[in-house]
Assembly symmetry: D2
Homo-oligomer: 298 residues x 4
C-alpha cells in the first residue's frame, strides 16, 4: 500500500461540496496525491489547478487510489457512489479502504460496509465529522471513527491533515453512533439556549451579553458564543443550518434510542420543538428560528 513517493499512499476524494472542497485542499496542501470526482464536474476545477487528478467515476478514483474519502449528503448518495454504475464496488478492492465522512444511520453504515466487503473486499471506516465548514477550512475538525483499529491507524496521518481530533470509537457504525451523541448534545443545546435567551429578554436583561458573562464557566460552549447573539438579534441568514437537517438527525436519534431501549426525554422533546418549528417557520428556515416559537404576541 506504500507507493514510491515517500511512503505515502495515493488518495481519492468523492463529493466536492462545502466540506469536500476544503478538506481536499488540505490534503493537496500536505503534499498528497489525490484523485477527485464529483457528480457535477465543475466543482473540481479549483482542485485540479491545485494539483488534484481528475477521475471520471468513483470506480476510476478507486483505480488510482488505495484510500478513498467521501463526504455525501445522505445514505442514498453513498449507496449510489458505492453500488451504482461505475461505483466503487466495481473496482478491484483488495487492500483498499473507504473512509466515509457522511452522517448516516449506523445500521445503514453497517449494511453498506458489509455488502461492499462481500462484493470486492474493500474495507470501510465510518468517520463523521463535527465542526462545520469553518472546521473544514481551518483543518480543526473533530472526526469520530468506527472500524478496525489497524485501518484507523493506517489513515490517521492523512486525517490529521484535515482534522485536529481523530478518535477511534469502536467497530463499524461506532463513528455514526458517536455523531448521533454529538447531535443529541448540539440539538438540545439549540433548544435550551433559545429558552435561556428568551428568559433573559423577557426579564429585561441584555441577552447579547450572556456569552460574555458566562464565558469560561460550565455554561460556556461554542453554541453559547455563536447562537445566543444570533437569536437575540434576529440574525438567521445565512442559516447556520436548516431546521429539517437538525430534525432529521434528532429523529434518527429517537429511532436509534427505540432500537436500543434508551430513554431520551430531552432529545425527544427537542425533536418535537424542531418539528413545531418546521410546521411554523418551514423546513428550510434557520435551525435557530425555533427561538421565534416563543415570540410574544404583537
Amino acid at each position: 500500500m506504500v507507493d514510491s513517493a515517500g511512503g505515502k499512499e495515493k488518495l481519492g476524494y468523492l463529493g466536492l461540496g462545502l466540506m469536500g472542497l476544503p478538506m481536499t485542499k488540505r490534503l493537496l496542501g500536505a503534499g498528497y496525491d489525490v484523485a477527485v470526482w464529483n457528480r457535477s464536474p465543475g466543482k473540481a476545477n479549483a482542485l485540479l489547478e491545485a494539483g488534484a487528478k481528475a477521475a471520471v467515476s468513483p470506480r476510476d478514483v478507486a483505480a488510482h487510489a488505495s484510500i478513498i474519502f467521501m463526504c455525501l449528503t445522505d445514505a442514498s448518495a453513498v449507496e449510489e457512489v458505492v453500488f451504482g454504475d461505475n461505483g466503487l464496488s466495481g473496482a478491484d478492492g483488495n487492500g483498499k479502504l473507504v473512509v466515509d465522512f457522511s452522517s448516516i444511520h449506523p445500521d445503514k453504515t453497517k449494511s453498506i460496509a458489509a455488502r461492499l466487503k462481500a462484493a470486492n473486499g474493500m474495507g470501510w471506516i465510518d468517520a463523521p465529522v463535527s465542526g462545520g465548514t469553518k472546521g473544514a477550512e481551518e483543518a480543526t475538525l473533530a472526526i469520530m471513527a468506527g472500524g478496525e483499529a489497524a485501518d484507523v491507524e493506517r489513515i490517521r496521518p492523512y486525517i490529521l491533515a484535515m482534522a485536529r481530533n481523530f478518535t477511534h470509537m469502536g467497530p463499524t457504525g461506532a463513528g455514526q453512533m458517536t455523531k448521533l451523541c454529538n447531535q443529541v448534545i448540539v440539538g438540545c443545546a439549540m433548544a435550551v439556549l433559545a429558552e435561556a435567551t428568551r428568559l433573559a429578554v423577557n426579564a429585561g436583561i441584555d441577552a447579547k451579553r450572556l456569552p460574555e458573562a458566562l464565558a469560561g464557566g460550565f455554561a460556556d460552549s461554542i453554541p453559547l458564543q455563536l447562537f445566543v447573539p444570533r437569536m437575540a438579534q434576529g440574525i438567521h441568514s445565512p442559516p447556520l443550518g436548516h431546521i429539517h437537517t437538525m430534525l432529521k438527525d434528532l429523529d434518527t436519534v429517537v429511532a436509534v434510542a427505540q432500537d436500543t431501549s434508551t430513554p431520551v426525554p430531552m432529545a425527544a422533546l427537542a425533536a418535537q420543538i424542531f418539528r413545531m418549528g418546521k410546521a411554523v417557520r418551514g423546513a428550510d428556515a434557520d435551525a435557530l428560528e425555533i427561538y421565534k416559537l416563543s415570540a410574544p404576541k404583537e
Copy 2:
C-alpha cells in the same frame, strides 16, 4: 471612598465557606485590607494569619469597610446578615456598597436591596458566580452583576482579584437573572449528557471516550469533559453537586418563567427529571445520579 493607603478602599467579607475562604485569600494576596466575619468563628483563623482583620458582626465589618462582599447559602441567610441583630442595616451605610455573591431569587434581591437602601443608604450589587470552588481557588470565576453602572466599575478592580470574568448585565436583580440563565444551560446539560452517555453505552460504544472524540466541536463544554466520564464510570462521590440544589435552581427558573410569560419546555422537563431523581435516589444524591434513572433492569 479612597483611603490613604494607595488609593484602595477597605474591604469586608461575610460568610467564609467553600467559596468565601478562597475568595478572601485572593483579596489578601492582592494586598487588600479585608475585615472578615463568619457565623461560626473558627473558619476565620487561616485568614487572620494571612492578614485579615477579625470583626465581631456584619455591622462591625461595615464599620471597617466601604465595600462588603458576602457569599451565603440562601435568601434567609442574606436577610439575617443584613437585617438581623448587629446586621449591616444597623451600620452607617453612606457611600458603602454590598456585593452579594449568593444565588437567590431575583425578586428577593430587589426587595432586600431596596429595604437596605431605605434603611441606611447602602448600595447593592448582586453578583452571583459561576465556576465552583475550583474557580474560587484559581481566581477564574465568572461573575455576573446587577446594579448601578458606576458601582460596578467601582468594584471591578477588587473583583478581578477573584475572577477572570466580570460582566455588568443590568439593574439590580440582573445578576441573579443571568445566573438563572446559567442554570437553565447547566441543568439541561446534565440531563442531556445523561441521555447521550446512556445512548452510547446501550449502543455498545465506549462512552468514556466521548469527551475526547467531541473535544473542540459544537458539543464540547466543561460539563462534557467532566460529567460524562463520571456517569459512565459511576463516580458520584464526592458529589459535584446535590440533586436538591440543581432542582431548587430549576424550580426557580420555572417560577420566573411563569412570572415573565416565558415558555421553557426543556428546562421544565429537566426540573421534572431531577424531581424524579430526588424521589428515586434521594435529595442529597449527586446531581449526576439522574443517569441511573435509565439504568437497565438487572
Copy 3:
C-alpha cells in the same frame, strides 16, 4: 342549627356570577330559604323574584344564614369577602359553616380557614366544582370537598340540590387538591387531543369523526366529544375557557408538585405548551387554540 320550617337550615350565597346564579336558583327551587349578596347588586334581581332574600353585605348574609355558600373568582376575592369590611369574620360565627366553591391554592384555603376559625369560630369546607356553567344549570356538577366529616354530611342535602356528585376527600384543602388533580387531567387532555386531532388531519383522515369512532372506548371522554370537533373545525368562540385560566391552574399544579416532591413531567410540559400558546395567541384566546401551535406553514 335546625330552624322551625321543616328541619332545614337557612342558607346564604355570596357571588352571583355564571356559577352562583344557577346554583342559587336550584336551592330556591328545592324550597330552601336563601339570603344572597353580590358585589354588583343588579345580579340578584332575578333571584329576588324567585324568593331569595337580599342581604347588604357578606356579614349580613351570615346574620341570616347558618350555611354560607360562595363562588368567587380568586383567592383575593375570597379574602375580601371573609376579612374585608362587613366581611364574614365580623359576624357571630358560632356553629356556622362557610362552603367555598371557588378554586384556589390549597395552602391559601388552609390559611383562610384557620384565620376565620380563630376570628369567630366559623367552620370551613373547600368544595371546588367541576362541570362548568352547563353543570350548574342542570345541577349535574361534581363537587369535591375538604373539611370535617360531620360538616360535610351536614351540608350534603343542600349540595345535592346543586350537584350530582359530592365526595369527601379529606381535611381542609383536600377539595382544592382534588380539583388540581382534575386540572392535571383536563389540561393534559387538551394538549393530547390537540396532537391526536392534528395527527388525524395531517394523515388525511376525517378528524371530526374521531369522537364517533372512539365513543365508548378507553379514549372516550367529554373532552374527546367536545374538544376535537371544535379544533378540527376552528371553532374558538365563544371560548370554552381561556388560555390564561388553564395556564394558571397548571402553574399551580407545578408549584404544588414542587412542594410535595411529586414528578409531573406531562403536566409540566402541558403548562409550557399553554405558555407557548399564550405567547403566540394571547392570554384571552380560547384554551383550545393551542391546536394552532402546530398549524402547517401556509
Copy 4:
C-alpha cells in the same frame, strides 16, 4: 355473494386468541356460518362445539367464506397468513373481502392490501378495535374502519354482532391511523393519571376516591375509573397491558408523526416515560407500573 340461507354471506375467522375466540362466539350466536382456523389447532374446539366449521389453512377458510375476519399479533403474522404457504393469496379471491382487526402500521396495511389485491383480487378493510377482551366478550367493541365505502357497508351487519360502534374513517389505512390516534389518547392518559394519582397520594388525600369524586366531569373516562385505583393500591396482576405493547404503539405514533410532519410533544414524552418504565420495571411489566417511576425513596 348472498347464499341460500337467508341472505347471509359465509364467514371465516383466522386467529382464535383472546379477541378472536369471543368475537367468533358472537358471530355463531347470531346464527352465522363461520369457518375457523388457528395456528395451534386446540384453540378451535370450543367453537366447533358451538357450530363453527374447521378449516385446515387460511386458504381453506377463503374457499369456504366470502368475508374473512382476522385478529393477529403483528404485521409479520398478518403477512404469513396472507402470503405464506396455503395463505389467503393462494385462494380464488374474486368478490371476497378480508377484514383485519389487528393493529399494525398504516403503511404496512396499505402495502399488504395492495399486494393481495394484485395477487388474487381480494378486497381489504383494516378494522382495528378498541375495548379489549371485555369489549369482545360483551360485544361492545369500538371498531374503526379503512377501505371502500361499499365494502364497509357490506360487512356492517356482521360487525354489529361483535361491536357497538363501527365507523368508516377513510380509505385503506385510515382504520389503523385512527387506532394510532386512540393510542395517543390512551397512552398519554396512563402517564397523566399516574401523575394525578401520585400528586394526590403525596398531598395526603385519598387517591382511591378520585374516580368517584371526578365521575361525570371533564376528567372522567374509563381509564380514570379503571387505572387510578389499580395504581393507588399497587394492583398490577394480571396486567391490563404490557409496557412493551403500549411503548410499541407510541413509538409507531412518533414515527408516523415524523412522516406526516406532526408535532406530538405529549405523545413523544409519554413514549419516553414508558421507555424509562421498560428500563426500570422490564418490558413485560404492567403498563401502569410507570406509576412506580415516581415512588419516593424508602
